[in-house]
Assembly symmetry: C2
Homo-oligomer: 312 residues x 2
């Protein structure tokens, strides 16, 4: 065996990577996700792309260990996808078996956030550790729990649904999941904006955010510039997220938290606000747990899906 493929399926594009069995990426490319018509073309398009690459490179099937695939939806340990609405998939089916029969290769599937976590554990911010919690702060808050080098999928595919940890009893707005007071409502990009807009209404304080655009980026840029209003927003963000991560430590006690997603582009300053509140509630045994920024960006998924195959 010399090669494997990592495939990260998103709502608009499919990212693909050809890897050697040491985990070095040889080539990466993208194709469009055709989610129309119930997403019937998604897997055939992927199969064509993989086979095309093998032909182009003169790679025989016997030299390929397999293909890993990450999809935006819950995936069971035995490869069933329940639904992946962003791909147009509305039926429960075994994505591993289906893609495997198209490719003539072993296929292993995982949830997209979980495989990104596995990628960051393997070659990113968590490299060298086997117990890693990955948190992605984007439009929503997602994540993945890696214990002993393996994804914790959970009994209902809800392992690592970090964004839906309940952190606030007094919340009138609904989370996308239907509950009230989920971490995602405060620690995502939209959550940071919500906190900022709420505080803007409550106070008269001077801030660059009052006249300009309010986004996670402008908030943390203002924090870096010493804007005291923006710092209050960061404190609230840090309190919700830091406390939630302290609770994760009391449950699975990772060696390292890896923080990724768009909001993490703010850099080390973000970790400062998370850690400040983390240490206040973390159990003494895990107060020194490391925090790292994610390193693989949008490639975390192809690394993680490749790892699904190479770890077999």
């Amino acid at each position: 065996m010399k090669y494997c493929f990592g495939i990260d399926v998103g709502g608009t594009t499919v990212k693909l990577g050809l890897f050697d069995t040491e985990g070095k990426v040889i080539e990466k490319w993208e194709i469009k996700t055709r989610s129309e018509n119930g997403g019937v073309n998604v897997l055939p398009d992927i199969a064509e792309a993989v086979k095309g690459k093998m032909e182009e490179k003169g790679i025989a099937p016997a030299d390929v260990a397999g293909a890993g695939i990450g999809v935006p939806g819950p995936v069971t340990n035995d490869g069933y996808v329940n639904k992946a609405v962003n791909l147009g998939w509305n039926e429960r089916f075994n994505v591993e078996e289906k893609l495997s029969s198209m490719l003539g290769l072993p296929v292993k599937a995982g949830n997209d956030a979980n495989v990104a976590a596995l990628g960051e554990m393997w070659k990113g911010g968590g490299a060298g550790a086997e117990n890693v919690v990955f948190v992605t702060l984007g439009t929503g808050v997602g994540g993945g729990i890696i214990i002993g080098g393996k994804i914790v999928t959970g009994s209902h595919g809800a392992g690592g649904e970090i964004g839906h940890i309940h952190v606030e009893d007094n919340e009138s707005d609904s989370c996308g999941c239907g509950n009230h007071g989920c971490l995602e409502q405060y620690a995502s990009a939209t959550g940071v904006v919500r906190i900022a807009n709420k505080l803007l209404k409550e106070t008269e304080e001077e801030t660059v955010l009052r006249s300009g655009e309010v986004s996670a980026k402008t908030v943390f840029d203002a924090v870096k510039a010493g804007d005291s209003f923006a710092i209050k927003v960061a404190e609230q963000f840090g309190k919700y997220l830091g406390t939630a991560l302290a609770n994760i430590s009391a449950i699975v006690d990772p060696e390292v938290f890896v923080i990724g997603g768009g909001v993490s582009k703010a850099g080390e300053v973000l970790l400062d606000y998370i850690k400040k509140y983390y240490v206040l509630t973390a159990f003494h045994g895990c107060r020194e747990t490391r925090f790292e920024l994610a390193k693989l960006g949008n490639d975390a998924g192809i690394y993680g899906t490749a790892r699904l195959i190479l770890d077999k």
Copy 2:
């Protein structure tokens, strides 16, 4: 191989069990824990007890798969105990290697709450499941996280420190761990008493608890008798614990929660108050997670330590 031993070391007694390799207990007995003098006698006493039992039963070492041992303190995956103050152990040493050299048998060690969780997964309230969260409500709140049939020890031995999940920002009293607002301060036997005494001071409401003894038992007895004050205590207890368990579901998503410890003797009524609040904050994918009462009582530890050996 026909046999194995399970050994659960407590501060006052050591519980021992002789098991067949199917996990059936053949005999169980206890010896005293001699924790004086830095606990130097604890392991020799255990070795003598095990060897004595093998002699008595005519069991050859070749017929014994090994001995599992649970200790009240953090235990690393490779068998190191950092400290176990209740046993007088104040030094870091490898308990597996030490007991193994005394017994001439393979030894596997674990934290006492974690091995109890493993026992309940194997032969107790979680039988049939591989992803189990065990919560023990006693003087404190302990627990264990079992994923894929294995204990989640954590990178600092703090996996399953459920009692130290932060659940209350407004708490002036300290938890035993030094933090403020840990689950243990509300959901343990002493926590239930704290909630009741606080409410007794805050209201004038008639209740059997105002004149009589206040304990977790009398509170839940009063709940069963329809005492509306006691029901308010149970609601607070249920809210703290149910919300914390919902958060555990968003992280590791177990198939079943098993509730044990002294407080769980209240029975099914206890689960009713936990579940009432669990469903309010649980992520939709895991709202139907099962709740069971623990079944093995004080024997959970010997079952779990036997399992450490038989699962090798």
